[in-house]
C-alpha cells in the first residue's frame, strides 16, 4: 500500500501572519498614497535628451529605465545559462535545465504549428514571448512604481516628511496646496504604449517579410486578388472585395496587438494603485497573483498570435483558418 501523508496545517500560515502584521505596522509609518496615473509615461528629466527631426524630442521616461532593467535581467539569465553549459554536458540541470525546458516547449509548439518554416519563425516567437514575459513580470516586484521623484504640485498633493539626506517620505494627509506627488523611477515596461505599438509593428511587418520569403511576390495577391477576376467574373469580384477586407484586417491586427497588451497591463497597474490606497493590508497580494497569471497569458497570446500569423503567411490559400482579432 502506498504511504500517504496525513495533511496538517503547515508553517506557512505563520509566515503570512508575520507579513500581515508587518504590513499593518508599516502602514502607520508609510501610509500609501495614490501616485500619478496617466497613460503617457512620466518624464524623469526636465529637458529632452535629444531631438529627432520628424518625431520630436526624446525625454528620459520611467519606462525607458524599466526597459534597461528588463534587458539587463534577460542578458543576465542568458549569461548564466551560457556559463553553465560546457561542451560536454549532456543533461542540463538546475536553472539551465529550466531554461532548456522553456526553449524546448516553445520550439515544439512552433514545429507543430509552422511545419518546415519553424526555424525561421521560432526566433521571432521566442524573443517576443521572453521580452514580453519579463516586462510583464518585472512590473510586480516591489521596487517598481514605488520609489521615485517627489515633485511639488500646485493643487492637491500629499504631505512630505523629510527622512534625512535628500529622501522624502510622501504620505497620507492630502493637502490642498503645496503638496507633493511621487513620480516613480521605474514603471512597468508594457504599460507604455510605445513599447506595445513597436512590438506590434515589428510583428506584423516581419509577417509580411516571411510571407514574401515563402511565396515570393505572389504573396501580395492576398491583398489585391485579381487572379480569378477574369476567369470567373462574379466570384473573381468577390475575391477582390475579400482581399481588400484582408488589407483592412492587417491594420486591425496592429491595433489589436497594441491595445490588448497595453490594456491588460495598464488596467493591472491602475487596479494595484487604487486597491493599494483603499485596502492596503492583504488584498494587493491577491491582485498581484492575478496579475502574474495575466502577464504570463498575455505574453503567450502575443507570441502565439505572431506564430500563427507567420505560419498562415507561409502557407497561403492552402489552409485558411480565421484567427480572431
Amino acid at each position: 500500500m502506498a504511504k500517504t501523508r496525513t495533511w496538517r496545517w503547515g508553517k506557512n500560515r505563520w509566515i503570512i501572519l508575520v507579513f500581515v502584521i508587518l504590513t499593518v505596522i508599516g502602514i502607520n509609518f508609510f501610509a500609501p498614497i495614490q501616485s500619478v496615473i496617466q497613460v503617457a509615461p512620466e518624464h524623469l528629466s526636465a529637458t529632452p535628451l535629444f531631438t529627432l527631426p520628424v518625431i520630436g524630442s526624446v525625454y528620459l521616461t520611467n519606462t525607458l529605465t524599466a526597459l534597461g532593467v528588463t534587458l539587463l535581467v534577460i542578458l543576465l539569465i542568458a549569461w548564466i545559462v551560457k556559463r553553465n553549459i560546457k561542451s560536454d554536458t549532456l543533461i542540463a540541470t538546475g536553472f539551465t535545465g529550466l531554461m532548456e525546458m522553456l526553449v524546448e516547449l516553445l520550439y515544439n509548439l512552433t514545429e507543430s504549428t509552422a511545419g518546415k518554416w519553424a526555424k525561421k519563425i521560432f526566433p521571432w516567437f521566442a524573443t517576443i514571448f521572453i521580452v514580453v514575459l519579463f516586462a510583464n513580470l518585472l512590473k510586480l516586484i516591489p521596487i517598481f512604481e514605488t520609489f521615485g521623484l517627489a515633485e511639488e504640485v500646485t493643487n492637491g498633493g500629499y504631505t512630505a516628511i523629510a527622512l534625512g539626506g535628500n529622501w522624502v517620505n510622501v504620505t497620507a494627509p492630502a493637502v490642498d496646496e503645496g503638496g507633493f506627488v511621487v513620480i516613480p523611477f521605474l514603471r512597468g515596461l508594457s504599460t507604455d504604449l510605445n513599447f506595445t505599438a513597436a512590438l506590434a509593428l515589428i510583428s506584423v511587418l516581419m509577417t509580411q517579410v516571411i510571407g514574401v520569403q515563402a511565396q515570393g511576390l505572389g504573396y501580395f495577391s492576398k491583398f489585391f486578388n485579381t487572379r480569378t477576376l477574369f476567369k470567373k467574373p462574379f466570384f473573381g469580384f468577390m475575391d477582390l472585395i475579400v482581399s481588400l477586407l484582408e488589407t483592412i484586417s492587417e491594420f486591425a491586427k496592429i491595433i489589436s496587438f497594441t491595445f490588448r497588451l497595453f490594456g491588460n497591463m495598464f488596467a493591472g497597474m491602475v487596479l494595484l494603485i487604487l486597491i493599494g490606497v483603499m485596502v492596503p493590508v492583504f488584498v494587493p497580494s491577491l491582485i498581484m497573483m492575478f496579475e502574474f497569471f495575466i502577464g504570463l497569458i498575455q505574453a503567450f497570446v502575443f507570441g502565439m498570435l505572431t506564430l500563427v500569423f507567420m505560419a498562415m503567411a507561409t502557407s497561403g490559400h492552402a489552409e485558411e483558418e480565421h484567427a480572431a482579432s
Binding site: 490588448r260 491588460n264 497570446v301 480572431a324 482579432s325
Partner: protein, 78 residues
C-alpha cells in the same frame, strides 16, 4: 448644478463604455462551456483543450480590454 461638468461627463462616459464588457463575459462563458464539455467527453485531450481554451479566453478578454482602454482614455487622457 454645481461642480465640474466636464469631469462629470468624463465619469459618465467611462461608466457607459464599460457596458461592452458584457459581451466578453458571455463569450468567455461560452468558450469555457465548450471546453468543459469536450473535456468531459474525452478526458485524454485535457491538455490540448486547456491550452486552446486559455487562448480563446484571451481573445474574448481582449474585446473587454478595448472597452477598458476607451474608459481610461476618457478618465485619464482627455
Amino acid at each position: 448644478m454645481t461642480g465640474d461638468l466636464v469631469q462629470a461627463a468624463k465619469f459618465i462616459g467611462a461608466g457607459l463604455s464599460m457596458i461592452g464588457a458584457l459581451g466578453a463575459g458571455i463569450g468567455i462563458g461560452l468558450s469555457v462551456q465548450g471546453a468543459l464539455e469536450g473535456m468531459s467527453r474525452n478526458p485524454d485531450t485535457y491538455g490540448n483543450l486547456l491550452t486552446n481554451m486559455i487562448l480563446g479566453i484571451a481573445f474574448s478578454e481582449a474585446i473587454a480590454i478595448y472597452c477598458l482602454v476607451i474608459a481610461f482614455l476618457m478618465l485619464f487622457v482627455l
